[in-house]
């Protein structure tokens, strides 16, 4: 079974809950209804044999509604095919059902998405920050979080300060120009 067969089956079974479907460079992506996520994922795992959850990421599309998107990358070792499932998440209700019960590996992936973007995964057994410390007040991978970071203070735990960017991030430019044109330097592009 290929991923297009799998998508056909999902579309037949959940036709009202598939919001978007895209095919790009041989990869199929489905945007599905947030409320039906666990049902669709469980169908993918049990019936379509997507036994491997490769990754979960969250995207902040600032200015677009819904603002966030949670992306699940699935792979089937049985059928050697890939499938991408996306759900849109509103700013007001940043709650997505957890898929830890289906793939235990989702545990840390969901914690990372929670830590970096601030998506709450309901039903997650242990939703703590995974990279930043507990109590850090920001979500650093959101688009409205400044590149230099923000100051924060938690006595005896950790603190953070904005970094000196000196005019912009250090950017490498691929070219055959002289070193000072190529090497990582502040180019004031932002």
């Amino acid at each position: 079974m290929t991923s297009s067969n799998a998508v056909d089956k999902i579309e037949t079974k959940f036709q009202d809950h598939i919001l978007d479907k895209s095919f790009f460079r041989g990869e199929l992506s489905l945007t599905v209804d947030k409320l039906k996520l666990v049902e669709i994922m469980s169908y993918c795992k049990d019936e379509l044999l997507y036994d491997y959850l490769v990754d979960i990421t969250a995207i902040d599309n600032l200015g677009i509604d819904p603002r966030y998107e949670v992306v699940y990358e699935l792979y089937s070792y049985t059928n050697s095919c890939h499938l991408r499932i996306k759900v849109g998440v509103d700013e007001a209700d940043r709650e997505v059902s957890s898929v830890v019960d289906l793939w235990p590996t989702a545990n840390w992936h969901e914690r990372e998405a929670y830590d970096m973007v601030g998506i709450n995964f309901s039903g997650h057994p242990d939703l703590r920050r995974i990279l930043m410390w507990e109590g850090y007040p920001f979500y650093p991978l959101r688009k409205d979080f400044p590149l230099a970071g923000k100051a924060s203070e938690m006595p005896d735990v950790a603190f953070s300060e904005p970094v000196p960017l000196e005019g912009g991030p250090f950017v490498t430019c691929p070219s055959s120009d002289a070193t000072d044109k190529r090497e990582p330097r502040s180019r004031e592009i932002i």
Binding site: P140, L147, A148, S160
Partner: protein
């Protein structure tokens, strides 16, 4: 009329076995030649630190081979690698647990200045928290660079005047 100079206390039994020196110099000589590093390996610099401790570069030539993972037994903290904010206060705490006298080496670009990580998550140099004695450039520095840094630290220790300072403090206290 020339006065004949005779040694003040000549003793043939100890001739050649006694050296006159300052107490500070003697103490500094002992301290600088038995530095016990606290290997604070936080990133890839830690790998070069391990290489420095291994046979090819042989840190034992300088009397520094006794890497202690207990801060209470170490003299010099080698901060090797990227200090994230999450780790920063833990590094400070370990430094605070080290007994005086103690020194700090910032090994590599990250520990010295944050390096390439102009990031919300990375402390921009361990000198924001600890008094650094020697900074070593490099990303990561080669073991030779670390050894050079340690030799610079030895040179620095040899110029310290701990006993003189203690004496001055004592005299100050007595005069009050």
């Amino acid at each position: 009329m020339s006065k004949k100079i005779t040694p003040a206390a000549y003793d043939s039994k100890i001739e050649g076995n006694v050296t006159f020196t300052k107490l500070d110099t003697a103490i500094n000589w002992m301290r600088s030649n038995s530095l016990w590093p606290m290997p604070m390996g936080l990133a890839c610099c830690g790998i070069e630190l391990m290489a420095t401790g291994a046979s090819r570069f042989d840190i034992a030539r300088f009397g520094m081979e006794v890497m202690r993972f207990s801060p209470r037994q170490s003299d010099v903290m080698i901060v090797a690698g990227t200090v994230t904010y999450k780790m920063a206060l833990a590094v400070k705490r370990i430094y605070d647990q080290m007994a005086e006298p103690k020194w700090v080496i910032a090994m590599g670009a990250c520990a010295s200045s944050g390096g390439m990580y102009r990031s919300y998550a990375v402390l921009q140099g361990i000198d924001h928290l600890l008094p650094v004695d020697v900074y070593i450039s490099g990303c990561p520095p080669r073991p030779e660079a670390l050894l050079e840094g340690l030799m610079r630290l030895q040179k620095k220790i040899e110029t310290e005047e701990s006993v003189v300072e203690q004496k001055k403090e004592l005299l100050k206290e007595l005069s009050h």
